[in-house]
Subunit: 471 residues, 2 copies
Amino acid sequence: MTDTFVIVGGDAAGMSAASKAKRDDPDLEVVVFEKGQWVSYGACGLPYYVKGEIQSLEHLVSVTPEEFREERDIDLRTGHEVVAIDPDDRTVTVDHDGGETVQSYDHLLIATGAESVVPPIAGTDLEGVYTLGSMSDGKELREYVARARDGETLQQSDRGPACRYLEECTGPVGIVGGGYIGVEMAEALAANGFEVNLFQRGDRVLKGFSDATSDAVADHLREQDVAVHLGADVQELSGGDGIEGVVTDDERIDVKMVLLGTGVRPRTALAEDAGIELGATGAIETDAYRETSIPNVYAAGDCAESTHVVTGEPAYVPLALTANRHGRAVGQTVTVRPTEGGEIAGTAAVKAFDLEAARTGILDHGEAQAAGFDPVSETITAKSRAGYYPDGGTVTITLTADRETGRVLGVSLVSEFGEGAVHRSHAIVGALTEAATVFDLENYDLAYAPPFNTTWDPVLVAAKVLSGKLR
Amino acid sequence: MTDTFVIVGGDAAGMSAASKAKRDDPDLEVVVFEKGQWVSYGACGLPYYVKGEIQSLEHLVSVTPEEFREERDIDLRTGHEVVAIDPDDRTVTVDHDGGETVQSYDHLLIATGAESVVPPIAGTDLEGVYTLGSMSDGKELREYVARARDGETLQQSDRGPACRYLEECTGPVGIVGGGYIGVEMAEALAANGFEVNLFQRGDRVLKGFSDATSDAVADHLREQDVAVHLGADVQELSGGDGIEGVVTDDERIDVKMVLLGTGVRPRTALAEDAGIELGATGAIETDAYRETSIPNVYAAGDCAESTHVVTGEPAYVPLALTANRHGRAVGQTVTVRPTEGGEIAGTAAVKAFDLEAARTGILDHGEAQAAGFDPVSETITAKSRAGYYPDGGTVTITLTADRETGRVLGVSLVSEFGEGAVHRSHAIVGALTEAATVFDLENYDLAYAPPFNTTWDPVLVAAKVLSGKLR
């Protein structure tokens, strides 16, 4: 009899697993249940869709449901919600079309993803308050932007400080949260003429990055007429039917729309109800093969933990590459051979208007100390191309290493867009993953030519300066 | 008594050593003899100076002689040529101002660099035949370009095929050699309206790169109206007083100027005369600390060998970063502590009009086999940014690994300029240096965001495809 591989959730992890498993074992029956209508979509592209640089939501879909069904022979069922797992019977219960069916499995992958966190304050249910976790969120936001742009142009007297000098001003809006989504959406909304207020509870944006990166990005947001409110603890979203204002601990800002970019949490209810263990991070715990506490039940993607390559400890960093990588590994594990999907380094990249930034590894000294390291950091700013070359800007790099061993722990980089902060982070991911030291890194024979860098690439400059501090 | 550190040659290796030694031990007497007038210059920038993107030769100088003398307290003597080393007496003999003096040393660094190879054919001494190894070469070439551009515009009937459709055509020129210099100078000369003929003896340009990179660059050169003559063995440069034609084994092309870009060789005469051993590569042999066969005599930069990080064997790859790195290491060795400057990976980058390319490690299968590997290569072409993102192009990557172990041996990448082939090579330099496998590499947690790459960066795509071939 043919084995059945059942997958709950049809986005990155789920569809990567389905595709890989079916490719490696065409006889395997692969059934994917997706409660929504969209599968295999690039949620990371939503800000660019809202901005208007991508014309259709369909463009974010890498493979369509029809292609999965017809070309890849995957039994993909959209509009099907798995509501229960019975690990003893090896079945799942599925809600669809007003009824319920039971599907048995030999291997099960839980790829339920993450959901936007809505902060526990008043007013988050007001009309005009959005999140950006799903394709339908993206659709609604884009519709809002289109409506607002078609509306009347604000009178000069109605304009807030940030849009007072703009030729066109679509209205004041608020973004709560200064993480990736907050920063990317600031760009998307500003590009559409909105007066953007960004509220960040902590004292800097992009708190997973270095202080130097956060400061560079915040300064740049302000240059782009984004009002950056740091240390702004949002107490309430105020309004009548619709949103009218953001109330922080010390002021009230008028807004016509609010985007909540306050993070995500793993969707774990289904797994918990089945008795599957969660880890300390709150996401589903797995071994190196993404198998959960229940045999033959795997979890991958934004609902699951990973292991951090620097600390060796469980970590929850819900990002697209990990979902793809771990999903694919599970697809191979259930067909060909047990496959570890690899660890994570917490690597992330973001474009903020005309800047780009990346980070990887452990930068926070408290986190590094908790993992048994004695962290030392240095921040350098270096030219991104040969000084005499006509183009170019600067790259600012904060590099962190362990004092005792010199081991590279993490890095944060920021540069003008196109000046290579993001791709340069690739070198550090390699160093982290291979447990290299700054003494190794400063001797890396990195590519050099005047249009691309200085003789010592900024990454090497950072390594050289930090290594000098450790000797 | 104070020690004296004598350095022969005032470019990258020499001045890096001088600066580092003086910084680490201000009491050390540091004497640099440079036979020319220019020191510490970026020869890699010369093509951009000839092109006209850099306005003055002085812009290529990172630190001036005055700054070395006054700010760094280095006894820099330009116009001083060291003509002999006496290792027994620990002295060097120096020609200058028509006379000779003798200088004693405690530590000696030979940093005599490399010189352009002039092929052994007739006509290389004709007026209008240039090389591009030195600042004065660059000056002469730029003067030639300026004169030619000021001259009369060619009549339509005098134009060769490559410049027939250009609005402006400064005349037909020949470049002998399709390496970095040849390719960069093709861009520089074409930008000045010359009809460029590039003669390459072998069957592809940039022979240190992969076939895929060579083909992409040759195709692109042709798109830019450069006539690329492959398999063209230049027999003779013909002319009367000045150059008139390039004669290959099967044709004769009219040219008004020729640039020889046929490589460089290490300047070793001074070392050889002193009894210092050369390695199998023909460059000066050193240990890991750049010490030659004679104690207290070091050699670094374009005159010396390095050790290849993949093969562990001596290699001669004269490039700027190695010179800087090894010079600096010698400066530290003679003052603070013995310092290895690190191995090399043969990494190189080049811009060719609107393309960029990089290579690192061992790509040639014969070379890999000679080093005991069983090489396997895969070439992939992948999108450089998210498919739905408005900008972007493609990156073509040839990745080579050892069949048995999976160890990454080398890579060659090519993309549109700005699409990240060069900075992406940084990841592979890390992998090579750390002796990582493609199975490791495919799991690197590289940064991802739609403006910078696809979820699986092209580097990961290449690793995944090659790893699939090895399993």
